[in-house]
């Protein structure tokens, strides 16, 4: 990568922040239009659109975050890792939006109905479990917490994400009727990202990189 880590920190991060905020900004703006009785982009069932949209983005950003490590080893640089915390926190933010959309806009703060859903409906239970498991990760996302826990324990804690994403994927698969492509595509991407983490696969990567390096060096 030809971009310096400093440039990435100074310009890359604000740009990433802006890009990751766009879906949320779109969602909120359209809800405001909808409630004002103006034309909006949420379709004929705004609640359904909003639940799905926020959930889709939470999943996409989670998977995007999991792609950073394989990307880093493929590029042979740690620079992608600069964006990992931001992506994790944005994923958590979209999960919160997802829950606000469901509990406030859809269920209209009917807490009894929410509790019944959590207890009785497996796909809600699964989704809620994934959301709750994200809380300690968001909470301990600061450098201060890395120091306090020690890098090793912090890392072990944050491996929870390997449980959270499958739960979120299961939640997605269960809420669709019949056998639908979309949840399976997301699951396949997750499986691919996990495969890239296998030592065997990583060693393969390194070997090809080692083979490439001399050629790269000989370039003028």
């Amino acid at each position: 990568m030809g971009v310096s880590a400093r440039a990435l920190k100074r310009y890359g991060k604000p740009i990433a922040f802006l890009l990751l905020s766009l879906p949320a900004a779109w969602l909120v703006a359209n809800w405001i239009l909808a409630f004002a009785g103006e034309p909006h982009g949420l379709g004929f069932n705004p609640h359904e659109t909003s639940n799905r949209f926020s959930g889709d983005w939470a999943l996409r950003i989670l998977l995007g975050g999991l792609a950073l490590t394989p990307l880093a080893s493929a590029l042979g640089t740690q620079k992608p890792i600069l964006f990992r915390r931001m992506m994790g926190l944005f994923a958590f933010f979209y999960v919160l939006l997802h829950i606000v959309s469901y509990v406030w806009l859809d269920l209209l703060l009917d807490w009894a109905a929410l509790w019944r859903d959590i207890v009785k409906r497996t796909y809600i239970t699964v989704g809620m479990a994934a959301a709750v498991a994200l809380v300690p990760l968001a909470w301990t996302s600061t450098s201060g917490w890395v120091k306090r826990l020690g890098a090793r324990r912090w890392k072990r804690l944050h491996r929870l994400v390997y449980l959270i994403v499958p739960l979120a994927l299961l939640h997605f698969y269960m809420m669709r009727k019949g056998i639908q492509a979309e949840p399976l595509i997301y699951a396949a991407i997750f499986a691919g990202l996990m495969l890239l983490r296998l030592p065997v696969v990583r060693r393969l990567f390194h070997r090809t990189q080692n083979r490439k390096r001399p050629a790269g060096l000989s370039r003028p």
Partner: protein, 264 residues
């Protein structure tokens, strides 16, 4: 879409109709894709004319009928029905059609027939959604004969004064407003009278979640969500769902003595 001359009827729940644009662009019709906007985008591929309906099984006059010969177009009536989807949203739709019973009279039901089985077209050239096995194609639905001959059961050929748009099930579809929307099968190509209960598509796909009867019932939750309330398309709040979608006076007697928790 040609306008259809029709008689007004007293079937009208009152209140506002769901806008035509919502009825024709927010659809579940998986043969054209699983997103709500897919059918209105993809259903132009469907050729609703000419259209032949195979009528077979325990009938007096089995044949391949042109759909215009099955539906008496001089007897069309408008019926404004509530539609309650199993996904907990609802609409109010001004259908145009004839009672299903009039079709059954035309083909002659043999004694001993107990059920009517319906089948939707399954043609990959016209229906891009068939490439993906969301459910077992073709789509199959069924009614008990006494349900089918209930005056409320309608074969619709029109909507909002005109012919049915493809995404709404052109050229002819079933409308059984006291049942969840998936029972109201679209674009019918086969009607079979039989003495065995047909295995319907959603029952085959997941019998625990979708029963053969599928009567609208706020007291029997879907395993994945409550059916106690619904969202009327166009509204922000939730409404209480009525048993038999509010048509109990006309249909509750069909299920006397049946445990609706068991036969959901």
């Amino acid at each position: 879409l040609q306008p259809l001359p029709h008689a007004k009827t007293s079937f009208d729940p009152g209140g506002e109709l769901t806008p035509e644009e919502a009825i024709t662009s927010y659809n579940n019709y998986y043969e054209f894709g699983v997103d709500k906007s897919d059918p209105s985008r993809n259903a132009w591929r469907l050729q609703p004319k000419p259209w032949s309906v195979a009528v077979d099984g325990m009938v007096e006059r089995p044949a391949a009928y042109a759909f215009e010969d099955l539906v008496d177009f001089s007897a069309l009536e408008e019926r404004i029905y509530r539609l309650r989807c199993v996904e907990a949203w609802s609409m109010v739709v001004p259908w145009i059609g004839v009672p299903l019973a009039s079709l059954l009279d035309k083909v002659g039901v043999q004694t001993g027939a107990k059920y009517v089985r319906f089948e939707t077209l399954a043609d990959e050239k016209q229906m891009p959604g068939l490439k993906w096995p969301v459910v077992d194609w073709p789509y199959v639905e069924g009614l008990r004969l006494d349900e089918a001959t209930n005056p409320l059961a309608l074969i619709a050929v029109g909507l909002y004064g005109k012919e049915l748009p493809n995404q709404n099930g052109a050229p002819l579809r079933l409308v059984v407003p006291w049942k969840y929307g998936f029972k109201s099968i679209k674009s019918i190509v086969r009607i079979t009278l039989t003495d065995v209960r047909p295995r319907t598509t959603w029952e085959r796909q997941n019998a625990r979640e979708y029963g053969f009867f599928a009567n609208v019932n706020p007291d029997v939750p879907h395993p994945r969500w409550s059916q106690a309330t619904e969202r009327r398309i166009g509204e922000f709040g939730r409404r209480r769902t009525e048993k038999f979608n509010g048509y109990g006076e006309l249909v509750a007697h069909l299920y006397q003595g049946m445990d609706l928790r068991q036969y959901y």
